[in-house]
């Protein structure tokens, strides 16, 4: 079963933070308060887009061919993701 990492609080919609990390091998538990990396705070579709983009060495042309979309459509999508990352970055600061 594919589980999705929850990003927002189901009660108040605030961005979730990591409180506890667990080692499966030696059963160590680490407790603290850590922010989720910015990339993890993006939607699944956006994360997939970024991964695919990196895999094609940042070529929008190849991305467009693979996604069967036009170049400007893919470029616009990338610009939207850049925008969201910048907003998350600003919120964090």
């Amino acid at each position: 079963m594919n589980k999705r990492l929850p990003l927002k609080c189901p009660s108040c919609e605030n961005i979730l933070q990591v409180k506890q990390l667990h080692c499966e091998k030696c059963e160590t538990e680490v407790t603290g308060l850590y922010s989720l990396p910015i990339i993890s705070q993006l939607s699944t579709e956006d994360q997939k887009f970024i991964l695919d983009f990196v895999k094609v060495s940042g070529s929008l042309k190849i991305m467009a061919q693979n996604m069967k979309l036009s170049y400007p459509t893919v470029r616009n999508r990338l610009d939207e993701i850049i925008n969201r990352i910048n907003n998350l970055d600003t919120d964090e600061k």
Partner: protein, 178 residues
């Protein structure tokens, strides 16, 4: 065919591909316009007169395309935060003009070649032209929106201004050459 492809094919077609398809469309439309005496003497104007040579019809259609593309490209350069490509704008806008082929196509029918003003034939042809004009305008808007990645007020205001400036420039060119 999905309805989105009729009004916004630019999610899938842009760049060089749209330019080539658009050029073929332009040549066919111009040829039919010449054959039937259908002048596109402005971005939104039409006139019925078999009164000149092929080159004038070609100049009209070419001017319509080049001026609107230039003004929209300029708007994109000024207002858009994205890196826009010339070929996307010129290609998608050229593609958006393909529905204008409808009016000269209708005028191939002998009944609509010569007619009296305010006759049903005139209204029939004008009616079809209006449908093609609305369709082309929707396509043009979407072409501009996607190629320049503009939204909201910037998109609407720059679209209207580009249309007006293009109309003026095309009219001036046609006055000069005729």
């Amino acid at each position: 065919m999905r309805s989105s492809n009729l009004y916004n094919p630019f999610n899938r077609i842009a760049g060089f591909k749209s330019l080539i398809i658009g050029l073929v469309g332009l040549l066919i439309t111009t040829y039919l316009a010449f054959k039937t005496g259908t002048h596109f003497n402005g971005l939104i104007n039409i006139n019925f007169a078999k009164d000149s040579d092929y080159w004038l019809f070609f100049t009209e259609n070419l001017s319509n395309w080049l001026f609107i593309s230039t003004f929209m490209y300029t708007s994109g350069l000024i207002l858009s935060k994205s890196k826009i490509r010339v070929i996307d704008i010129f290609g998608t806008i050229l593609l958006s003009r393909i529905p204008l082929i409808i009016a000269p196509l209708i005028r191939l029918i002998p009944l609509f070649q010569s007619f009296v003003i305010q006759s049903w034939q005139m209204y029939f042809v004008i009616g079809f032209y209006l449908v093609s004009l609305i369709w082309t305008t929707i396509l043009l808007f979407n072409a501009f929106k996607i190629s320049c990645n503009l939204k909201n007020e910037r998109l609407i205001i720059s679209f209207i201004i580009s249309m007006i400036l293009s109309e003026i420039c095309t009219k001036l060119v046609i006055i000069l050459i005729t």
